[in-house]
């Protein structure tokens, strides 16, 4: 077994090399103490030797400014004390060799076992940039220098050979004045040392690289004239977003329906196949729908990450960051927060997962905390049901429809609330490292499909494996609370299988929501939600829809024993319209209670999957709990104010 680590600058094709080497044999863990992913992969050499690969985060130097960089610094420091890595594969982009070699010289001076991989030889060749690998290798004391084309895999054999037959090479020179770890906290010395290293690198490069003729404006610069244009830049970004949402709304619903129906049938089938009893119920009604509830998110996550990784791989993402940064900065956000927040309009889960690209911890946590306020697609069924129920049909000028305006208003309210909450959190969350936007804008390039799909696969797996456990656990608890009750059932529900009529408290299986624990809870919270204009039935729906917001519609249908497809079949709407308040006989669902409910769903964190993902991404229970509480308080206050003002 050999262990190697891949290091280098960001945007060099480091991850591409990792993917080339390991394919699907990857796993994601995390580095101790921080929320940075640790990607590990495996492959076999021709000789049969197994190799373990660690993909270190891309960094520009060993002096840490962000969590990513701290991880690399700590990792290297640990290797100096207790070495267990046989070889560091240093990945450098051939067209930006000067800047790329800074980190290399730091690692080199520390005496680590290295091999250099030069990427993007195809682009270098196009620009007639020639690098003398032999001379380069000589300059650095015989360390192998290998050219690898990330698209074709050309050159990989040489790397395999270097890993197989790697021998320790004695460092023959020093690039800097100091060993990097001696000046970890001395800014002045770091500045000087960096200057000296750059000088040395430039001197060395003068021998080994013949610079490209740079008289022609390259394609990237020409694209950028439009991509960051004050008008076209935003127009392009909005069109791309519009296209992505259209595709997600139209395509994702099919596989989501298949998963829903498939698991429903599987649940029914299991129930029929197994002997009756609590064990059968647990499997057929608790576990199977729970697993279905995890898997149903996959189409949305996969589609969104497909597009996000296309944007990332092509280089367009950094242009979005560039044109949006100034607009969102007053709210404590970063240009990098924009795409995660926009993704949350489809679904907060991929939105929160994509916040990982934000290097500043504070900006990232704020983005994660406000992402669920953006109106996601799961709110649509709730909003449309409530709007159909309480908002009158009214049109201005024949085109502007009141119902449509209310829906738009709810979306805007979510967006504005997210920005306001972000601005408030900016004051309260303390940060040790400065937020900055010193960012390389890579050149545009065609995405490699294989890497796009590997990225998508990785995200889906993280969701299913890490967040899935929490989601499954919560949904089993919700199922148990909805199917069992504290007392025996009323006599009219007695059946032959369960003829108990004991009235002593215990745990009994019930056939309807009202007599279950959730039903009791719904009754129990009635005094609390009465000021919001809700009765215990709505209370039940609020509790069950913690699983996911759209469950509200299904729960209402179950409580009133009608079909839940309110757009085709109007029985649910009619039934809700008839519902009267017990004391006053007024309609339960009027403008006041309807608006109050809509506002509740704008703010409340009614999504266990988001809860689980925030726990996964922040690696703590603290942040998801804070989020649950702050959103709950906002929901309550907004709903309370609306109901009291309108009724």
């Amino acid at each position: 077994m050999r262990k190697i680590a891949i290091t280098g600058n960001p945007n060099t094709g480091k991850s591409s090399l990792f993917n080339q080497l390991t394919g699907l044999r990857q796993k994601v863990g995390n580095f101790p103490g921080v929320t940075v992913d640790k990607k590990t992969g495996f492959f076999k050499l021709k000789s049969g030797t197994d190799v373990e690969v660690i993909d270190l985060p891309g960094t520009y130097s060993i002096f840490p400014q962000s969590d990513d960089e701290r991880v690399v610094a700590d990792f290297v420091q640990q290797q100096l004390q207790r070495p267990d890595i046989d070889l560091f594969v240093y990945v450098a982009d051939e067209i930006n060799l000067e800047r790329n070699l800074l980190l290399f010289t730091q690692l080199y001076d520390l005496g680590l076992p290295l091999v250099v991989v030069l990427t993007m030889p195809d682009i270098a060749a196009k620009r007639q940039l020639k690098t003398d690998k032999q001379l380069f290798s000589q300059e650095i004391g015989g360390i192998p220098v290998i050219e690898i084309n990330g698209r074709t895999g050309e050159g990989l054999d040489q790397l395999y050979q270097a890993i197989e037959s790697h021998q320790a090479v004695k460092a023959t020179r020093k690039f800097g004045e100091h060993s990097p770890f001696d000046i970890l906290n001395q800014t002045e010395a770091q500045l000087n040392d960096t200057g000296i290293r750059y000088q040395e690198i430039r001197r060395m490069l003068a021998h080994i690289q013949r610079p490209a003729e740079n008289n022609r404006e390259n394609i990237s610069r020409r694209i950028d004239r439009i991509a960051v244009h004050p008008v076209w830049g935003y127009a392009i970004f909005l069109s791309i977003l519009f296209f992505i949402f259209q595709v997600i709304y139209h395509i994702a619903s099919y596989p989501m329906d298949w998963i829903d129906v498939g698991f429903l049938q599987l649940s029914q089938w299991t129930k029929d196949m197994m002997p009756e009893g609590i064990f059968s119920d647990l499997i057929s009604q608790g576990i199977i729908p729970g697993v279905g509830g995890v898997l149903v998110f996959i189409p949305q996550i996969a589609l969104l990450f497909f597009f996000l990784s296309l944007l990332e791989e092509s280089g367009y993402m950094s242009r979005v960051v560039f044109i949006m940064d100034k607009l969102v900065r007053p709210f404590g956000l970063n240009g990098k927060s924009v795409v995660p927040l926009m993704s949350s309009v489809a679904c907060a889960i991929p939105g929160i997962m994509s916040a990982r690209g934000i290097s500043s911890w504070k900006d990232r946590i704020i983005t994660i905390m406000v992402a669920p306020l953006m109106s996601c697609s799961a709110r649509i069924p709730v909003y449309t049901l409530l709007i159909a129920l309480v908002i009158p049909d009214y049109q201005w000028l024949g085109i502007i429809n009141l119902k449509g305006m209310v829906l738009l208003g709810l979306y805007m309210l979510g967006l504005i609330s997210a920005l306001v909450v972000a601005a408030i959190m900016k004051i309260f969350i303390k940060s040790t490292s400065p937020g900055y936007l010193i960012m390389e804008m890579p050149e545009y390039k065609l995405p490699v499909w294989k890497y796009v799909f590997l990225h998508l696969w990785e995200k889906v797996r993280i969701f299913v494996v890490d967040a899935g456990k929490v989601i499954l656990a919560i949904s089993i608890v919700l199922w148990a609370l909805a199917s069992y009750g504290p007392y025996h059932r009323p006599s009219e529900y007695l059946t032959e299988q369960n003829p108990t009529d004991s009235s002593s408290p215990g745990i009994y299986k019930v056939n309807d929501l009202e007599h279950s624990f959730i039903g009791k809870l719904g009754h129990g919270i009635e005094p609390l939600i009465k000021p919001l204009g809700y009765d215990w039935k709505i209370g039940i729906a609020l509790i069950t829809s913690f699983a996911a917001r759209e469950v509200f519609v299904g729960s209402m249908a179950t409580i009133y024993s009608v079909g839940e497809d309110f757009e085709e079949d109007h029985t649910l709407l009619e039934r809700l319209r008839q519902e009267k308040k017990v004391e006053s006989g007024e309609p339960q669902y009027n403008l006041a209670s309807g608006i109050s409910l809509m506002l509740f769903y704008v703010y409340a964190m009614q999504c266990m999957a988001t809860f689980a993902v925030v726990k996964r991404e922040t690696r703590s229970w603290k942040w998801p709990l804070i989020q649950l509480v702050y959103m709950g308080i906002m929901a309550y206050l907004a709903a309370f104010t609306a109901y009291q003002l309108l009724s």
Binding site: E98, T194, S220, F322, D325, P434, Y436
Partner: protein
């Protein structure tokens, strides 16, 4: 005696002293170039130097985001974007 307006206002009217303006990267217009003179002491100056912004380096402003912030510059063949506030750390030769 030359009437020194700045000293005059500083001492007589206790107006806040304004240091003489130096040339920094944030003052370059799109398309203009400059040569880095030094980096002001700042938490981010090491980071900037690591990105290749070192004394003697020629840099060119390639484009600016709408509202003039952030800006994108050419640093020895690659494109670096940074905020105006970050660009102010970089002093240019006059």
């Amino acid at each position: 005696m030359v009437f020194n307006k700045r000293l005059y206002s500083k001492h007589l009217y206790r107006v806040k002293y304004v240091p003489p303006k130096h040339m920094d990267l944030s003052k370059l217009e799109t398309g203009e170039s400059g040569i880095v003179k030094s980096l002001q002491p700042h938490q981010l100056s090491v980071k900037l130097s690591e990105m290749g912004l070192l004394p003697g380096r020629k840099i060119t402003v390639l484009f600016k985001a709408p509202f003039g912030d952030p800006i994108a510059i050419d640093v020895g063949g690659y494109v670096l974007s940074l905020r105006r506030s970050e660009a102010q750390i970089i002093t240019l030769m006059d």
